[in-house]
């Protein structure tokens, strides 16, 4: 999805809720009559999509927190997928 750039800001789509579930040891995304259990990286990305941080901020933050580098392309790929599945929404 080419509309997402490093300066794009994203939020959890309306009607969806992201929360940490201790019983599943994972972030889960809750929506009407369904639930997605997110893996570690998906949870790390989604939990930083607060409408304030840009995609670039999210990338920097994750790289710093986990001692990683060069994850930009992976984050962009996940964000594109999450937008397509209506998990995330672009904030103008």
């Amino acid at each position: 999805m080419s509309i997402v750039s490093d300066t794009s800001r994203l939020v959890i789509a309306p009607g969806m809720r992201l929360q940490w579930e201790a019983a599943q040891d994972a972030h889960v995304l809750l929506y009407p009559e369904g639930m997605v259990k997110l893996n570690g990286s998906a949870g790390a990305i989604m939990s930083r999509c607060d409408g304030v941080r840009s995609v670039a901020d999210v990338i920097t933050d994750i790289e710093k927190s986990f001692g990683l580098s060069g994850i930009g392309a992976d984050v962009h790929a996940f964000v594109a997928l999450a937008l397509e599945r209506h998990w995330l929404e672009l904030r103008e």
Binding site: P14, R17, A23, Q24, V28, P32, M35
Partner: protein
């Protein structure tokens, strides 16, 4: 959830995850009398409803086990005047809360209070197959009521989700139903074909559509989809009688789903009360933890040791878990049999015969066929295909 792991030699019981999905049927009271209601046909005989404090305790216990999706239904859940209290506690505990309602009783004051309490989602359903649907199609009282409720739902920032149960007597009106849904501002419409349990089972011969009706309805739905684009999302649920493989009912009983009846009876599926040999526990005298992990009812259909052939050796048993236990029982008289919807089942002819009868009787005028309306004065025990010899 699959069968017991082969590597797990010491304990061959299937590994049990948490009851992620909790459904509270808060009451069997309902202003409607739907012919396809899945509530038990002898619901009038069930004991008194749980008190507010009991529901709140149960929410806490289930959440502690890992329950996170919460459905509030009934009957009509709005008939409980403590619904707001229940929602507030569920929200405090971190549940994602869905209200499944006919909208009757949903006033401006109540929706505001529910929103404030933390209700996440509302599914507005069309219930009564004849009176209400006729009203709806002819734009009279019920349509006005539903439109008002739909507007309230949108004004309070909820997606407008409409559920319409389809059957022989309304499936030909799918086009009009979708037009109405659009005028109401629905964003999601679920066209759910009737599933045959409870009152719907009793009325199956009158409700099952013909194959042609089904195909027409799907074609109408598809062309509407093309016209409406992404404005309105439509789900069309095909009745499983027309399928060749069964639905993975509840992802296997005792796998993720826990339902509580108004009197506190705990069930591994909404309809499980009908299954013989299940000792259903009650939250009045058992903790949710022991109900979920230790009770006979919730362990009875875990894993695949209970299965008979052709399920036991079937490569698809981990995908559909043998289908629906209630359907197996209703049609074959034995809940351990394969769901006869499966064309590998030796009883599949019972399903094809019902479909064939529907083909013939679709031409019989409506008034010659008696429908039994859900009513507390009519209390009927479960009748299986075998015992009724239909």
């Amino acid at each position: 959830m699959n069968a017991a792991a082969a590597s797990d030699i010491a304990d061959t019981r299937p590994r049990v995850g948490p009851p992620l999905w909790l459904l509270l049927e808060l009451t069997y009271r309902c202003p409607l009398h739907c012919v396809f209601c899945y509530n038990p046909t002898d619901f009038a005989r069930t004991g008194p409803e749980l008190a507010t404090a009991d529901w709140l305790r149960v929410l806490g216990e289930a959440r502690e086990l890992g329950a996170v999706q919460l459905g509030l239904s009934g009957g009509e859940p709005l008939a409980r005047d403590d619904l707001e209290v229940i929602v507030a506690e569920a929200h405090r505990l971190g549940f994602y809360i869905n209200l499944i309602t006919s909208g009757i009783g949903l006033s401006e004051a109540r929706i505001r209070a529910l929103k404030l309490a933390g209700l996440d989602h509302i599914q507005l359903s069309f219930q009564d197959s004849t009176r209400e649907m006729n009203d709806f199609l002819s734009s009279t009282r019920t349509f006005e009521l539903k439109s008002k409720v739909a507007a309230l739902i949108r004004e309070h920032g909820y997606p407008m989700v409409l559920n319409v149960v389809l059957h022989r007597h309304n499936i030909d009106h799918v086009g009009e139903i979708l037009d109405m849904a659009e005028r109401m501002g629905a964003q999601y419409v679920e066209l759910a074909n009737t599933q045959y349990y409870g009152w719907a089972w009793l009325n199956r011969e009158q409700l099952l559509p013909s194959r042609e009706q089904l195909q027409r309805a799907e074609a109408v739905t598809n062309s509407f989809r093309e016209r409406a684009g992404t404005r309105m999302k439509i789900y069309f649920v095909v009745p499983d009688y027309f399928e060749k493989r069964p639905k993975p009912c509840m992802s296997g009983l005792g796998s993720v789903f826990l339902a509580l009846a108004p009197d506190g009876t705990a069930m591994p599926c909404h309809a499980a009360r009908m299954l013989p040999g299940l000792t259903l526990p009650n939250v009045r005298d058992s903790a949710v933890r022991s109900i979920w992990y230790d009770s006979q009812a919730f362990n009875r259909f875990r894993g695949d040791a209970w299965m008979k052939e052709p399920c036991r050796s079937c490569p698809e048993k981990g995908k559909d878990f043998g289908g629906c236990r209630c359907q197996a029982y209703l049609l074959t008289g034995d809940a351990d049999n394969a769901d006869p919807v499966c064309d590998l089942s030796p009883h599949h002819d019972l399903v094809t015969a019902a479909v064939a009868r529907a083909q013939q009787s679709a031409t019989v005028p409506k008034r010659e066929q008696a429908l039994v309306f859900r009513d507390h004065r009519v209390s009927i025990p479960v009748v299986t295909e075998r015992s009724s010899n239909r």
